[in-house]
Structures are given as structure tokens and as C-alpha cells.
Amino acid sequence: MSKNKKSRKLLEFIRYFVIIFGAFWMILPFFWLFSASLMTPEELLADIPKWLPAKPQWSNYVEVLKRIPLLIYYKNSFIVAGTVTLLVIITSSLAGYSFAKLRFPGRKLLFRFVLSTMMFPVFIFLIPVYYLMKLFGWLDNYLSLIVPFAVSGYGIFLMRQFVMTIPDELLDSARMDGASEFRIYISIILPLLKPVIATLAILTFIGQWNSFLWPLIVTTSAQHLMTLPVGISRLSLAFSTTETQHLILAALVYQVIPMVVVFLYLQRYYIKGFVLSGFGNI
């Protein structure tokens, strides 16, 4: 008995040691970001990164607000990232359910097609999609920042994998009770997918929040639509970034915090999934 207890305690120790050791290496750059955002430009020129500022320069955060219209960038980034996330969740869960549980001719082929949309390097799409935006007259509009990202093969694939784990019996009994597919989708599928939806929401939101090249190309002529990464890039001076590096880092902290908030908020959905015991033999 005591031998078992000892070996279990050892395993537990190793477990937490590994977790903590890994955590240290994971958070290092993240920590440095916050610390460096409080440094002076001189401190940032040191060849070995300093870990703590000599005197925290809270003024950096104030200075950033003076130089760029941060609130406008926040608004635009929230609108774009939020809307895209919503659209992606809807389209991915619908399509994911379709691919996972509904049978129709061409299903395999269509799925392979959706997968293949992820296999092209992004730059290839820049010119043609920009052209479409110009054609539709969306260049002056949130639409050009949102619509090209409304559907995500990644999201469809993810949803499909998780919907597949839902037992068919559950769905069949609902069908026999006369429920329409859409009803099943809303009442059964979605609630069971809470952790996945949260995951997809986090990843999509972050991807859109940090997106730089496309918004830059599109909003150069529509400056009122600029998102955070584009706006912050106005603080970097081509060959003398050292001058504004401290401000850029502070601005990046402004950019990072909402993502942290979104991540922590969505953790409430990481709960144990459905419990099978109430559904008899499988």
C-alpha cells in the first residue's frame, strides 16, 4: 500500500515539475513584453535583453495614446474580429455537422475540397481578392475586412471532427421524435460542442485580431477602418525603430490584453462534455 502511495506521490511531483518547468519557458517572451514596454529606448538597446526596467516608464502608455488614435483601432479590431468569429462559428458548425452526420452524395469530395482550400499560400489570394473588393465597392467598408474570412476550412474541419464523436443514437432518437435537422443542430449539437466552439472562437478571434497584411493593404486608402496591428505599425520608423521601440512595445501590450481577456473569459466553456451514463448501452 505505502509503496503505491510513494510512487504516486513521485509521479505527482514529476507531473508538476514538468508543468512548471515548461510554463517558465513558455511565458518568458510574454513577460519580457510587459517588462520591456516600461523601459526607455536606451534600455532596449542593450545587447543582452534586460529583464526589469530601472524605473517603470508608465508614460510610455500615455505617449502611445497621444500619437495614435488607439480607441478607433480598438473599435475597428473588435468589430472585425468579433464579426468574423461569429460568422466562422456559424458556418463551421453548420458545415461540420453536415459533413459529420448527414449523408448525401458527394460528401467525401466536398470535404476534400474544403480541406484543399487551406493548402494555398496566402499571398496568391492577395491580388484577386483585392480585385473582388474593388469590384464590389467594398474597399471603403468593413465588408472587405470581414467577408473574405467568413468561412474557414480549419473551422469546418475542427467542428466535423468533434461532431463525429456525438453518438448517432442521440440524433436518431431526436429524428424519430420528428425533429428537423436544424432543430437538432440548435438543441443538441451546439450545446454539446461548447468546448470546441470556445476553442474555435479563441483561435479565430486571435487570428483576426493579429492580422496585419490584408488589413494594411485594404485600409491604406480607408484610414478610418484601420485595425490595431495596422495602426501600431505607424509607430515604427523605417530605419530608426529604436527611437520608438518603447512606444511600439507599449502599444503591443494594448493589443495583447484583449486577447488575454477573451481567452480567460472563454475558459468557462471548458467543462466536461456530456455524461454517457444516462444513455444506456452503446
Binding site: 483585392y130 474593388k134 494594411l216 491604406t220 505607424r234 530605419f239 529604436t242
Partner: protein, 430 residues
Amino acid sequence: MMRKLIVFLLVVALVLLAFSVFGRTKLIMAVHWSDYQVEGVKDKNGNLIKKGLRQYVEEYMALHPDVEIEIQSVPFDEYLKRILISHTSGEIADIYVLYSLWGVQLVDSGILNAPPKDVVDKVKSDFVKPAVDGVTIDGKIWGVPIEVDNYALVYNKKLLKDAGFDNPPKTWDELVEMAPKLTKRNKDGTISQYGFAFLSGWDSAVVHPYLALLYSNNGKFLKDDFSECLLNSKEAIEALEAELKLFKNGGTDPAASVWNFPAGKIAMMIMAPWYETSLKLGFKDRYEETVGVSPIPYLKKPTTVGYTWFIAVDNASKNKKIAWDFIKWMALNDSNGFTRMGELMAKNIGAIPPKKSDIAYFTGELNDLYTSVFVDELKHTYQEPNVAQGQEIKTILMREIVEAWNGRKTAEKALKDAKKQIDEILAEFY
């Protein structure tokens, strides 16, 4: 009766208003500057102490109420990409600030508008030679130069004194001799202080200093008509071997990074005018006593290499005349002895204006410890060749030079391989 009159006047006013809005010409100006370069430098209370581009633009708009100029600022790294992507869909700017090599591609594709004769004549007469060469593509002038850059030797006076050197090296041989004496090593063989560091990491960084050496050795990079690459010449090989001497005798190694200079870890490096602010920040009150600048050590004759930024007009612009008018007002015509663009360059951006009268006027900014040497060296500056596919060609050369630096190829082989690839590209265009 009164009511009818008022309505009539209102209608007239509305029509005039509509006309003024529709009658207004809109110019879009694309630049790679940002932050205070565009918005101006303000003091703690928000008062303007240095004008940015926007202030000049507003001045012009006040003088010409029917013209509206929108500034579109794109970071340097994304600048060319943005032009390429939006241009294919017809979204163009009227005025561009361009790096000279990008200009070649634009000219060859008919994108740029040939400047009016009076502009061309003034460029030829009023600007320093490297800048004029910078805006000359296929024999014609395509814009007004607004910034000229070149390279010089920047050294740490204190580190040199500590090793017993009162003066920086004048010739390349002197540099080769001094560098190992300024290098300090750790016990494990890695270097703790570099005698010399080469600029590296992008094409111009590696290629420009090499070209300076090549030209100072009386060599040529390409034939004048760009039909052939001349890197297989004796002069070219000697120039690269001169660089390699520093690697072989321990004066530097491929891991050296010039960005460690402000931390006092580099004794000498080749650098451009835009590094001044970082040096001032890094050395603070020890700046004056530590930083020294002198002409690039040469092989046979004093030479350095330069590149240019210029301002031009898009051929598809619907407002070409007004665009050139603005450019003349901004960058060509003297107002009180200097051009506004020259003032923006010298006072705000901290770059060297290429107009001779501006150089003479802004002595305060240009005659300081750092910049004065670069300005003085303009007389020895050769503009990099305005050849098609310039960046592709320079990237090829850069990679071959780096192979030689790492001892993986001899100077001769590296240049031979570069020549082969470059000749293939030249054959496509010339």
C-alpha cells in the same frame, strides 16, 4: 418675395458648395514615412516644434483651396507590395515617394509619368550628381530626388584609443591591419569585442559596401549598357578578397552584428546616415567622445556608394499637372533659400537632402559630428546602378558574398556563380 430670394440664394449656395466639393481635385500621396515624420514633432504641451509632411501639405492646401491631398503612409517593408497589389486593380496614388531601384521596374512598365521639361532641367542643375544618377533610368530623368544616402566608416573612438590607435584607418589595408588588434576573445573562442563588423541581413546591407570597395578598386559591377555582369574581373575578385582578409585574420566573423555597436561591442563598422539616432540613444552623454565617422577605407581611390529616394507621378493619374505643381512647390522651388522638402529631410527625418542649395543652407543639421562626413563624402559617392530586377540581382550577389564570408566558397567562385545567375537575368531585359 423675401422667401423666394432666400430660397434662390440657398440653391445658389448649395450649387456652389457642390461645385467646390466636386470641383476639388484630390491627390493621393503615398509615402513610407510614419508617426512624427508625417504628423510633426510636438513638445510636451502639444505645440509643434518640427514640421511634418502633413503641415507642408496643409500649407499647400491653404494656398490652393481647390486641391485636397491625402497622405497614405505604408511601412517601408510593405510599401512595394502595397503598390503592386492595389495597382493591378486600378487603385493608384498620384504621387509616390520611391526608392530608386523600385523606380526602374515602374518605369519599364510605363507606370511613371515623364516629368515636364522644366523639372528635368532643374534636377540636372540643382542636385548633387549621385542623386541625379539616382533618378536617371534608361537615360532619362523620372522624378525629383528627395533623399540621398551613402556609407561611411563609423568607429568607437574610445575602443580605438584603448588599443593605441589615435586615428581611424584610411585605406582598406590599414583597416585589415587594425581590426584583429581591436578584437577581444573569450576563453571559448567566441568574440566578446569585434574589431570590425559588416552590415548584413538584407541585400543593400551586404552589396553596397562591397560595391564601394569594387569601385574604389577601379572595378565595375555591370557594363554600362547592363548587357553583362563584370564580377569575373580581376578588380571584382580583389575587392571581395579584400573583405575576406578580415575574416581570415580574425578581425571579424559572420556572426558579428552591427546592432551591438551602441552597446560598445564593436570597434568599427560601415554604416549609413540613418543610424544616428540609435547611436545618440545608445551612448547618451558619451556620444560625442565615443562616436567617430570617417570615409570608408578604400583600395585605390576614395569611393563610397549611395542610393536615392525620389518623388514621382503616376502615369495613370488624372491630375498630373497639379501633382507636378505640388512637387515643384515642395521639392524644387526655393522659399527663403531652402526647399520645404529639404527642410523636412534635414530637420525632421534627419536625412540628407540632395539639392545643393539645401545642403548649403542646413548647416546646423548637416554639419554635426555624424552627418557631416556623409555629406562631405557625397563628392565621392557613386549611385548604385539603376538596373532592372535590381533587388533580385542584389539578393543573388548578397548570398554569394555571404558564402564567401563563411569560407564555403572562394571569392572567385562566389563571384563567378553570381555572374552566371545575374547574366541570365540581364539577358531577359537588355
